[in-house]
Amino acid sequence: MNERVAIIGVGYTQLRPVSSDVSFREMIYEAAVRAYEDAGIEPRDVDTFVAISEDYHEGTAIFDEYVPDQLGAVLKPVHTITQDGLTALASCVMQIKTGLFNIAVLEGHSKASNILYPSHIDAFALDPVTVRPLGFNPVFLAGLEMQRFLVETGNTEYHCGLVVAKNRATAIKNPIAAYPAEISIEDVLSSNPVSFPLKELDIARKADGAFVIVLAKESVAKRLSPYPVYVEGVGWLQDTPNIEMRDLVSSLYLTGAANMAYREAGIRNPIREIDFAEIDDTFSYKELQHIEFLGIARPGESGEMLEEGYFDIDGEFPVNPSGGNIGCGYMYDSSSLRGVYEAVLQLRGFAAERQIPDVETALIASWRGIPTASGGVVILSNRE
């Protein structure tokens, strides 16, 4: 099938630190109803469903069995991906590209507030014989990487604090964000040390919520939607699981994923051909590292560009107009679907108070969080 694939519907719930009034089913149903209404479809029109979940984040084994009801997917083709949201989006695109499916639905959610010992779950992901017995809280991995990244590139803790202040403040204009705030760089720099040089406010706090996204092949999309947003390129890959062997300066997983997506989208010069980006900022330094290794800035230059306002929402290349994970809340593997949701609103011109004028092309880049080195990149465009 040579047709492009488009996003024709997006549904969300408010992102919140806790959501004890609704079950995961009721939360996802709310997002699904909004997405189907937005796309002008009923669940019976959907040919295939893809969901994101990780059993240890959900609290049951074989969580994929819990997927169908709240999406209207009973007795329909469904599969679950235990990977980052953009990898799951790539799976939807691939299924449509086979020519066998016209409409695909992607779901991701977080009930992070229900995980009582999240560091223990992260620790269980570490190598059982070479790393785990050392007994560190897994957040030390971010400290190790931040240290090496800052020393090698010349970016500073001050720049990291600026990322936090920018994203928390940007989130004030995003009605779904969980952690909007006016905070100063000094607040970040003086917050509790966690794993030097990482401090408490450098870390995105977790949020509950759900996103549902409807995709369709171009001919169907044009019939159904007055404002289809096209998936121009996708890329995803993983670095080695051996933490000691990784390049801890460069986020090579995103360089590779971006090259894959840029190639498909025909992008040669990302900073000139892309208008804005939603980029993983689970830790403050990650936004800078990802900007540099996506090819948006040269290594060592992102901090100064940030200081000059280059990545502000009204800057030359806005990064995280939604407020990012730091402003909106970290949703594990579903975080990147918030980036997709934001990009679709911006490309439709529906982002209200935080609308960036005249945008045509967006980049979304994800990282799967500690202790992984895997990520994805998606290029979206509203160009016919």
């Binding site: 959501s19 004890s20 009034d21 609704v22 079950s23 995961f24 089913r25 009721e26 939360m27 149903y29 109803v33 189907y36 009923e42 669940p43 240890y56 609290g59 169908p68 009801d69 709240q70 209207g72 009973v74 009930k111 507030s113 229900n114 995980i115 009582l116 010992y117 223990h120 779950i121 620790a123 269980f124 059982p128 014989v129 785990r132």
Partner: protein
Amino acid sequence: MEFKGKSLKDRDFKEKNILYTDWHVKAHYAWDCGVALSKFFEGLKEGKLYGRSCPECGRVVIPPRMFCELCFKPTDKWVLLKDEGRINTFSVSYVNTDASRREKPNVPAVIEIEGASEGMGILHLVAHPEKIEWENLEEVLSMIKIGTKVKAVWKPSNEREGAITDIKYFVPVKEE
């Protein structure tokens, strides 16, 4: 029969003669029941079974849910159901979760609750009406079959906590 290699004994694990990892992950979770299951469990605490009805297809579903998974419409009414029903299917189980054998079997069953739509049931245990424990398969089969009418036996109200175990079990009852 002789096999090549060295066989492992329990003490090889205990004495760490082999590389062996044992990690007790603290996989503890809160569980947000939401609107539908919270009402269901509140009902159990009061000795009541609540279902929910779909305005589109008219089904009454139990355990209740806030949307109909077939029509994809919000359900809109609470329906108080009887604490009795009929056995949709049952099994006679001789194994515990840890795979050890049970001397006396227990009987898990799907019980279609009266007043709910056909096929709507809850999973629970069926016990012997007088002595609770079943002696053996033959005794079970002599008293229950698919379609047998059963009624809930509840814990005393001061012991109920809003859990599925507030119903101790179901027992077969005579047809009226």
